[in-house]
């Protein structure tokens, strides 16, 4: 039995105000002046209803990296940021290159209960870039993997990338490429340019990303496959993707929140909070990425949430790990960089943070319109507040956020998932309560399932 929620007077992304009645995780009524006995009432006057956000690019670190994050803690971070589904990258330890590992990650996500966890499978065994992993087994497993990525590493061998693009076609999947030519980025530490020359840090030239994207879109075209490009970071990459789309090539692209706001100048302090792969770039790149997100050349925002322990970050730059956490701040950063600047409206926010990622990643039941009969995966967001982002706003296990101390707009007030609230009054709900509710939802699903064919 799940709670009935009555959301009062919430604003939708098309500007209308409505009440929303949710029962058993489904939107059952819309209108004004609704009432329902026994319903938990949420006063949403002044709040915006977004479809639950869907992240196509998250690192949950489990199995193997539990010191930085687990599926549970990462799910909490996601819920805090207004997400109801995340795709978990495959660079765990062991790597998610078999059905066993992806099913384990999915099960951990179900048990935690905060978000739908959709595991991503590795393209190559062990992420070594030599042999294809058991893509078919992962696609047919309980985890039903549809997105495959060696993220962290580039599938740089052109022949292998061709084979991967072709092979996943057979399973209705997509390859998500981390575009980084390894030979051009040996010893790279930051964007290559005048600043890297000054700071004495190895350069990561834009061409190392652009040349791989250029090659991959041509390969995708040649073999008739879908391609997704992770964390686009340069103006040149944007131009390549734009050219490819104009030719009708089936390519989608993502940008991270940090690449929409931060530039390489931050590296001058050698504070490794700003160390990330691909690196922070120039103001011109930030502008081009924002414009591309606005005009659809870049399809979605994906966080590349990359938690790291304090030992991995509090050291000299060269030795520090790459990555930033981003689930909790993503919506606010998009609000600041894209909505406050007038580049996009809230309906576009819903598209780039929920609808389109759900479509690209084939995440069923998420990114759906607000309509009767649709699953009630919802985020209620207060656009009117402003906060100084601090560690108290982080809900995962790690603290490596580049936004600490920044003034960011907006706050997630309530997140609804599977018929229960995972965030209530801006606070993440206790994990035992969520685990309990999730277990009940799972049990109810088993009971409601049809008899298997041939059963006595």
């Amino acid at each position: 039995m799940t709670t009935t929620h009555l959301i009062r007077a919430v604003e939708t992304v098309d500007g209308t105000r409505t009440d929303v009645l949710v029962r058993d995780g489904v939107v059952v009524e819309l209108g004004s002046g609704l009432s329902a006995t026994g319903a938990e009432v949420i006063d949403a006057d002044g709040l915006l209803a977004l479809p639950g956000l869907v992240d196509l690019h998250t690192h949950l670190r489990e199995p193997g990296g539990e010191g930085a994050e687990t599926v549970l803690t990462g799910s909490r971070a996601a819920a805090a940021g207004g997400f109801t589904a995340v795709n978990a990258m495959a660079n765990s330890s062991p790597v998610a290159d078999t059905a066993g590992v992806v099913e384990q990650v999915q099960a951990l996500g179900e048990r935690a209960g905060y978000v739908t966890v959709r595991p991503i499978g590795a393209v190559t065994q062990g992420l070594e870039g030599r042999r294809l992993s058991e893509i078919g087994a992962m696609a047919r497993s309980r985890a039903a993997v549809r997105v495959f990525s060696d993220d962290g590493h580039c599938v740089s061998d052109p022949l292998l990338m061709r084979r991967a693009l072709e092979y996943v076609k057979g399973f209705g999947g997509v390859v998500a490429q981390h575009a980084q030519e390894p030979r051009l980025t040996e010893g790279a530490q930051m964007n290559e340019g005048a600043l890297s020359a000054e700071l004495g840090l190895g350069g990561w030239p834009a061409v190392a990303e652009e040349s791989i994207i250029a090659r991959d879109v041509l390969l995708a075209d040649h073999v008739g496959a879908r391609l997704h490009v992770c964390h686009v970071s340069t103006a040149g990459s944007v131009e390549v993707v734009r050219w490819a789309k104009a030719r009708g090539i089936d390519v989608t692209a993502e940008v991270t929140p940090h690449h929409l706001l931060l530039t390489e100048d931050l590296v001058s302090s050698y504070d490794s909070r700003y160390k990330v792969n691909p690196p922070l770039r120039l103001a011109e790149d930030v502008e081009a990425l924002r414009a591309a997100l606005a005009d659809g050349t870049i399809d979605i925002v994906a966080t590349d949430h990359a938690p790291h322990t304090s030992e991995a970050k509090h050291c000299e730059w060269d030795a520090a790990a790459n990555g930033m956490v981003g689930l909790e701040s993503a919506l606010s950063v998009v609000h600041r960089t894209m909505v406050e600047t007038g580049l996009i409206g809230w309906a576009d926010v819903a598209r780039v943070l929920s609808v389109a990622p759900a479509r690209i990643g084939q995440v069923e039941g998420h990114g759906r319109p607000l309509a009767v009969g649709e699953p009630a995966e919802l985020t209620l967001y207060d656009r009117g507040v402003s906060r100084t982002f601090g560690t108290e706003h982080l809900a995962g296990r790690s603290r490596n956020s580049p936004f600490l101390g920044h003034t960011l707009p907006g706050q997630v007030v309530t997140t609804l998932h599977q018929g229960y609230a995972t965030v209530r009054d801006g606070l993440v709900v206790d994990e035992r309560e969520i685990a309990d509710r999730a277990a009940r939802v799972a049990a109810a699903a088993v009971l409601a399932a049809p008899e298997p064919a041939g059963a006595p």
């Binding site: 700071l199 004495g200 840090l201 030239p205 050698y270 504070d271 050291c315 730059w317 060269d318 030795a319």
Partner: protein, 318 residues
């Protein structure tokens, strides 16, 4: 000054102060008692993550001439090679009561991270970080140039109008960077000469002119100082230039090229030299070569740096 981490951040007044105090420190080594009591009771730690006997000995001599206690810490590796982390080492040194830490580290920015970290309260002196800076080398080079140009009237003078050529692996050279910024601050004009593979793609933040051809650079610039940088063996394996012979022929200061220099031009080299590669005997052994006095000046300059970072109340920051 609380720390000396870079010359890029060193203003003209502070730079001149270091050079002027170094003049007095140089006098000390001409006296009967080559010692000052100034840093008595202070502990200076040489934290060297890279082998460098010459620089370490220079700092050790400087510290001892100021009566400081010196501890040499030859650190193996960093977090990357699973040795003790920089943080743990720093906290160990703090617990041992280090007042000053002279650090040489293969990671650019490591001295800055150490100074900003709060792990240790000591004054930090950068003895070379990755390919970023080597401020005391630049200071002793400037001191050497100033002495050769202005002699006993050096005190208070800068290097206004001096034309300096720096030749070699600019891309990987912390000596080149530190010199570029300091010389510019002191009024000199710097031109770098190297094959394009050994130059950063964008040098705009170094404030230098660029030439690929050394003979052309010598003819156009008419340098007062030519500084030759050492070519490291590893570079030859990494496709930066075809081989040693071609490098020496195009960018080495051999006999003929040495003769084409303006008659008063100084020849400098941070050492150790690859004779026959970047510099020939004629240049290295001529009276215009400052290589040996650069070593002596190094101790005086490092004494000045240690005095200015460690002797005072250290409330004033750079």
């Amino acid at each position: 000054m609380k720390h000396l981490l870079s010359t890029a951040d060193l203003g003209r007044d502070d730079a001149l102060r270091i050079l002027d105090v170094a003049e007095d420190m140089a006098d000390v080594s001409t006296r009967q008692v080559k010692k000052l009591p100034t840093l008595r009771g202070t502990t200076v730690v040489n934290l060297f993550y890279e082998d460098s006997t010459r620089t370490r000995i220079s700092f050790e001599a400087a510290a001892k001439r100021l009566s400081a206690d010196v501890i040499n810490f030859a650190a193996k590796g960093s977090s990357v090679s699973k040795g003790e982390s920089l943080k743990d080492t720093a906290q160990t040194l703090a617990a041992m009561g280090a007042d000053g830490i002279v650090i040489r580290h293969p990671a650019s920015g490591a001295p800055r991270v150490l100074a900003d970290s709060g792990w240790v309260d000591a004054g930090i002196v950068n003895a070379g970080d990755g390919t970023h800076e080597h401020p005391t080398q630049a200071l002793l080079d400037a001191f050497t140039m100033r002495r050769r140009v202005h002699g006993d009237a050096s005190r208070g003078r800068d290097l206004d109008g001096l034309e300096v050529l720096i030749v070699g692996d600019i891309l990987h050279s912390r000596v080149a960077r530190s010199n570029a910024w300091l010389l510019r601050t002191l009024g000199a004009h710097v031109t770098v000469v190297a094959p394009p593979t050994l130059l950063p793609v964008d040098v705009s933040r170094l404030g230098v002119d660029v030439h690929y051809d050394l003979d052309e650079a010598i003819a156009r610039v008419r340098p007062d100082v030519v500084m030759m940088l050492r070519i490291q063996q590893e570079r030859m394996a990494e496709a930066f230039f075809p081989n040693a012979r071609e490098y020496a022929r195009s960018w080495g200061l051999g006999a003929a090229r040495f003769r084409s220099l303006p008659p008063a031009a100084l020849v400098m080299h941070p050492g150790p030299m690859n004779r026959g590669l970047e510099i020939g005997d004629d240049a290295a052994d001529s009276p215009r070569s400052t290589v040996r006095e650069q070593v002596g000046n190094g101790v005086a300059v490092r004494m000045a740096v240690l005095y200015l970072t460690l002797a005072g109340d250290r409330e004033d920051s750079l």
